[in-house]
């Protein structure tokens, strides 16, 4: 235990040197900026800055790049809450209640609780990394293809529970999401599916385009419909910071979200994303009045926001302990490390303790800087909503298009986003929720890929899913959730039967 403190002491000594604080600040400020601008993600930014880091000392370079990463996570929530545009995949859930809060003039408390919840989650998960990084990394090893498949099944069942309205509609949306997820090259056979000869589709439909189209563009279209009388959320800006009641409602979701995020973030491949969805679902299940969700429940912002920030931090664990990137941003971090002559991997902790602990300490410093920087900015962000509609929304559209185009320099992606905007508008008219669709879209391909991998490894024996304990546990959990969901429906049916 004492060793941990001396290690953290060493780390803070490094992280708090004025130069490193400055680089940390540049990183989180830049990250927040690109996070707020919809579509311009941390990957492109870090890639562009990579050559610059050749000239920096290794620790400063890594601190700055890490700052961009979690700064962007943070900024992504801001645009999700204010204009319903998920800047990052993990902020899709934040749109659900965050944007509704903003419409009710409660953008301030939503932004505030997102900031404070994220900070708390960041603090806890930084501590977790410091205390348990190596044993936690072992968890990733316990998850083979069979376990991933079962985890995705659980996720999909959760997607249905997520939905607000009709069960039938949400199941349809999940299935539509699964189908869209099939587009592209099949991982196992290498065959192109549903690409209709467009090589732009051969890697699948881009997530950013789909999320931006379904959430952001469609919202803008449906606002156009209202003409001059469009609602103005600014008429009642309300308070800037969460009230005591808000805190009372939020502290438990924040705790639960932090726990979920810290755990799921460790799993490579979409852990952070899954954690925000799971947290939302858990909060909705535990709430006394689940019908408030999707209509501006602060718990629906507090939980997922804490979860995705905790997940973002713990996704550094595979990088720091195994040298294996869990997402493209981490791959870039590895690039930055190796260019500096540091081989990422378990030996970094023992061979370069200053770097290792300095980076961990800087995560906390970065989170602190984000809160300090963003709480006073909330007032400014809300002012953004007072910009007249005819000026605000065209500029949002423009930024979206630039962002989508910048992902892989393809005009095709911009057209596709526009098409999804129209589809999203139709969904609004039909009363179909896009959130289950997005979850199906993301989880479906992962589920299929791992199903086939698991079956190949077991040489075609499906019992592999039931004989591996973690996989079995996850499947049982999904079955229980399905039953719980079906129970009220069954009861209702029975009541109806009795009434007749």
């Amino acid at each position: 235990m004492m060793e941990i403190f001396s290690n953290l002491g060493l780390g803070f000594g490094v992280a708090l040197s004025p130069m490193n604080v400055l680089y940390c600040f540049i990183g989180v400020a830049l990250g927040t900026l690109i996070g707020v601008l919809p579509g311009i993600g941390p990957i492109a930014t870090i890639a562009m800055l990579l050559p610059i880091t050749f000239n920096l000392p290794p620790i400063a370079a890594l601190i700055m790049l890490a700052g961009i990463y979690y700064g962007a996570q943070y900024g992504g929530s801001t645009s999700a809450i204010l204009v319903n545009l998920p800047g990052e995949s993990s902020s899709v859930v934040t749109c659900l209640d965050g944007y509704q809060m903003a419409r009710q003039g409660r953008a301030g408390p939503a932004l505030g609780i997102a900031a404070l919840g994220s900070f708390f989650a960041g603090t806890v998960s930084t501590l977790l990394i410091a205390l348990f990084a190596p044993p936690l990394a072992e968890i990733a090893f316990k998850f083979g293809p069979a376990e991933y498949f079962s985890l995705m099944v659980l996720g999909l069942v959760a997607a249905v529970v997520l939905a607000q309205g009709s069960l039938l509609k949400s199941i349809c949306m999940v299935i539509l999401g699964l189908l869209w997820g099939l587009v592209g090259t099949d991982v196992s056979s290498g065959t192109q599916r549903f690409t209709f000869g467009y090589s732009e589709l051969s890697d699948g439909i881009g997530f950013v385009g789909i999320a931006m189209g379904l959430f952001g563009f469609s919202e803008i279209i449906s606002n156009l419909e209202m003409g001059q009388n469009r609602e103005v959320f600014t008429s009642k800006v309300g308070r800037l910071l969460p009230s005591l009641d808000d805190f009372k409602a939020s502290w438990k979701p924040v705790l639960r979200g932090t726990g979920l995020g810290s755990f799921l973030g460790i799993l490579p491949g979409g852990g952070a994303l899954l954690s925000s969805f799971t947290s939302y679902m858990v909060e909705k299940k535990l709430a006394k009045d689940p019908s408030r969700f999707g209509k501006g429940a602060i718990e629906g912002v507090a939980g997922p926001e804490s979860a995705n920030n905790a997940g973002a931090q713990t996704s550094f664990i595979p990088l720091l302990t195994l040298g294996i990137p869990s997402n493209p941003v981490m791959a870039l971090m590895i690039g930055a490390m190796t260019i500096q002559g540091i081989a990422p991997g378990p030996q970094v902790m023992t061979e370069r303790p200053q770097l290792f602990w300095g980076m961990i300490a800087s995560m906390w410093v970065g989170n602190l800087l984000l809160v300090v920087m963003n709480l006073p900015m909330i007032g400014l962000w809300i002012k953004l909503l007072t910009v007249p509609y005819r000026m605000l929304f065209p500029s949002i559209l423009l930024f979206c298009c630039i962002g989508v185009y910048s992902l892989s320099s393809l005009p095709f992606d911009v057209y596709m986003t526009a098409a999804f905007g129209v589809i999203g508008y139709i969904f609004i008219k039909l009363g179909c929720e896009p959130a289950p669709l997005i979850l199906g879209f993301i989880l479906g391909p992962v589920m299929e890929e791992n199903l086939r991998r698991a079956m190949l490894l077991s040489r075609g024996d499906p019992s592999t899913f039931f004989t591996r304990p973690i996989s079995l546990g996850l499947l049982i959990a999904s079955a229980i959730m399905l039953l719980l969901m079906a129970a009220p429906v069954l009861r209702k049916k029975r009541q109806e039967a009795f009434q007749e």
Binding site: L50, L56, S199, G345
Partner: protein
């Protein structure tokens, strides 16, 4: 503080690049920024290498060399974009063998012609694969492994970063050369494959040296062989597969190409800039630490190499019966 000022000026410069392309007059090449198209996503090794090269070329050419990632469709999107660009020296292609001598054998129809749409400029680097095994695999040398695979056909699971990728094809040549068969398990890239290899879910993997190296040191992975013709300079104890099967060679290699029709002067100018990057001993060392060997040559040497590689992979792919449409 000077370092900080430098960083800041580059940050601002990155934005300025786009503002520079105005009307052009007959000026000495290069009169405007040059784009170097990378057919892979940012973050991979090819991207890192391309950016390091672009930075050095920027110094030499006196114009920004901007890396443009055009990922997707196993390099087809990036290659096609370059093939349809004007041959004026302002668009260059940072290519791997996939775009130039593998895709035409895997896909029945390509939007570009790998042999006619480009002219070779120069080779840049080679990233040889290392044959990695989980410690539980009952083989402590490459020869043991082949013997075990012969005795237990189809029992070993070989992870790949995708169907039809260069490491997957390397498995196929190994199968063909040694007369063994493995079960190929495909992943989306080498990162998830490495996690499953470390966990023992799969048995074998071909990967560059940089990620697995610390795990080899700590005994969590066994490095049985390298797939280059010669042993790796920094790992003289790992034998080359070619020592058992002469001529065995599988690696990812990187070169710069230009659209067909680019003038000889421009090609040799760019080739000279590449040599400047390759001759810097610091770069050599840095890339070696990443598991890559910097390796240059004239455009003519590259042309000859491309020709022989195209033939070689054609034979391998035909024999393995891989098709990706």
């Amino acid at each position: 503080m000077t370092r900080f000022v430098r960083v800041l000026s580059i940050l601002l410069g990155a934005g300025g690049v786009f503002a520079l392309s105005g009307p052009l007059f007959a000026q000495a090449y290069p009169a405007k920024p040059v784009r170097l198209v990378v057919p892979y996503a940012a973050g991979g090794f090819s991207d890192v290498l391309a950016r390091a090269l672009a930075q050095k070329m920027t110094e030499g050419l006196g114009q920004q060399v901007v890396v443009e990632n055009r990922p997707g469709a196993s390099t087809i999107i990036g290659a096609d974009a370059v093939a349809k660009s004007p041959p004026d020296g302002y668009t260059l292609f940072f290519s791997t063998g996939t775009a130039l001598n593998i895709n035409q054998h895997l896909f029945s129809k390509l939007p570009y012609n790998p042999e006619k749409d480009f002219v070779p400029v120069g080779k840049v680097a080679v990233l040889p694969y290392v044959l990695l095994a989980h410690p539980a695999v009952p083989a402590n040398s490459f020869k043991d492994l082949i013997a075990y695979a012969k005795a237990n056909p189809g029992k070993l699971n070989f992870a790949t970063p995708g169907n039809g990728t260069a490491p997957h094809l390397a498995i196929k040549i190994l199968e063909q050369a040694a007369g063994v068969s493995f079960e190929s398990i495909h992943y989306k890239g080498n990162a998830p494959a490495t996690v499953d290899l470390l966990a023992g879910q799969v048995h074998l993997l071909f990967d560059g040296l940089v990620v697995p190296e610390p795990h080899i040191k700590s005994g969590k992975l066994k490095a049985l062989a390298v797939a280059s013709l010669k042993r790796f300079p920094s790992q003289p104890n790992i034998p080359a597969i070619a020592e058992s099967y002469p001529g065995f060679d599988a690696s990812t290699w990187y070169c710069v190409m230009a659209p067909a029709g680019t003038s000889k002067e421009i090609v040799s100018r760019i080739n000279a800039e590449i040599q400047k990057y390759l001759n810097d001993p610091g770069n050599k060392e840095r890339m070696l630490a990443q598991g890559a060997i910097l390796e240059g040559g004239t455009p003519e040497q590259l042309a000859a190499y491309l020709k022989s590689e195209t033939e070689r992979w054609g034979t391998v792919i035909k024999k393995a019966g891989i098709k990706l449409d």
